[in-house]
């Protein structure tokens, strides 16, 4: 088996994957952990933006990315992928969403399919860190503000040039009017 075929066997995720899984301490043990992750993956596909504890969000992210990646690579006619989707998605209308909405949306993406932000916390509170997990391209208002203040953005460059041209015109007008006054 050569190298190219090996790379085809696995989905290459575009996120950092932790070397070890998180236990997500549960009364039901490892099965409870899986159930919790399933619920969260399901909720992520349903709501597209969630606020979770950081550990849970980070752990869920990998599973969601993997599922989307598999769906993109194999499509909905691949049996193992469909079984995987059936296991991870509890509300079955979301399986349609995975293959008919998310796959076309993420097909051309060169980045990760999800985003993870650290949620703010009130200063003196000592709490577990919270985070916001979302699918990219969701219909909600953007979490990070649009960066319109960068000097090198094309609209800012154009605006600067326009300002310069406008000022030069104004200065010419002023000098002309001053000369006219002197002549009088």
């Amino acid at each position: 088996m050569n190298q190219a075929e090996v790379s085809q066997l696995m989905s290459k995720l575009r996120i950092r994957v932790n070397p070890r899984h998180k236990n997500l301490k549960q009364p039901d043990g490892p099965q409870g952990r899986l159930n919790k992750l399933r619920r969260t993956v399901n909720a992520l596909f349903k709501y597209e933006r969630l606020e979770l504890n950081y550990t849970l969000a980070d752990e869920t992210r990998g599973y969601a990315e993997r599922l989307i990646s598999e769906a993109i690579r194999h499509g909905d006619t691949h049996k193992p992928t469909m079984e995987m989707a059936d296991y991870w998605i509890e509300e079955k209308q979301l399986i349609h969403k995975l293959f008919k909405v998310l796959v076309p949306r993420f097909n051309d993406y060169k980045t990760s399919y999800t985003m993870l932000y650290r949620a703010p916390k009130a200063y003196p509170d000592i709490v577990f860190p919270r985070s916001v997990l979302e699918l990219r391209g969701n219909p909600f208002p953007a979490i990070l503000p649009q960066r319109s203040d960068q000097r090198n953005f094309i609209h800012n460059v154009l605006l600067d040039e326009a300002k310069k041209a406008y000022r030069a015109e104004k200065y010419e007008e002023i000098t002309k009017s001053l000369e006219e006054q002197r002549e009088e």
């Binding site: 349903k46 709501y47 597209e48 933006r49 606020e51 509300e91 079955k92 209308q93 979301l94 399986i95 349609h96 969403k97 008919k100 909405v101 949306r105 932000y117 650290r118 949620a119 703010p120 916390k121 009130a122 916001v132 219909p139 909600f140 208002p141 953007a142 979490i143 990070l144 503000p145 649009q146 203040d149 605006l159 326009a162 300002k163 406008y166």
Partner: protein, 200 residues
């Protein structure tokens, strides 16, 4: 030698007569203790010296007494804490920044609380509307949420072709910056003059 003899005599007197010793040191006798002529008490057998000492240790202040000297490192650590782990002194925080959008302060590498709260409120409302609208049917289209009055504009239907449009019953909040529907050019696009407006 004389001193030794004097010391010995003092010791003897101390052992025999405490009052005399007090008179010698303090120049006066201790006040006489109150005494009651109680018949019951006199009938009690005298307590042996050993149990007396036990009782003294049992309910007295001699319980917890430091046995060893606490080292200077331990004392300082109790006082100030550990610099890496649990520092008790107040330190200035250097990881707070001011948000470029709203001016509130936020922690480094975290979301701004004020901006995030606005987005969060809007998001939960969107999610409720979308969930109610879609229900249990299989989801086969992307969803777009529009505010009141946005749908009547002409290019909307073409722009969101193939997407499911859900309308909210209120106006768009002013801070919502994703302004896809605003026209970028006004009037004829053949005009070549570009004039910035509202310049100081």
């Amino acid at each position: 030698m004389k001193g030794l003899v004097a010391l010995r005599s003092i010791k003897n007197r101390l052992c025999t007569d405490f009052d005399a010793f007090c008179r010698m040191i303090l120049g006066q006798t201790p006040p006489p203790a109150l005494s009651f002529a109680s018949p019951i008490e006199t009938l009690k057998p005298s307590i042996p010296a050993l149990t007396n000492i036990e009782r003294l240790f049992g309910d007295s202040i001699f319980w917890a007494v430091p046995k060893h000297r606490r080292s200077i490192e331990k004392r300082l650590k109790r006082k100030f804490g550990c610099i890496d782990d649990f520092y008790k002194m107040l330190l200035p925080r250097t990881d707070l920044f001011t948000c470029n959008q709203c001016g509130h302060s936020y922690q480094r590498r975290h979301l701004c609380p004020n901006c995030y709260k606005r987005v969060k409120d809007e998001t939960t409302e969107f999610q409720e509307v979308i969930e109610k609208e879609l229900g249990l049917e299989p989801i086969e289209q992307e969803v777009v949420v529009l505010y009141k009055g946005e749908r009547t504009k002409q290019p909307v239907e073409e722009f969101f072709k193939g997407k499911r449009i859900i309308e909210l019953k209120r106006e768009k909040p002013s801070w919502f910056c994703r302004n896809l529907l605003q026209r970028t050019t006004i009037g004829n696009s053949d005009a070549k003059d570009v004039q910035p407006s509202e310049l100081a």
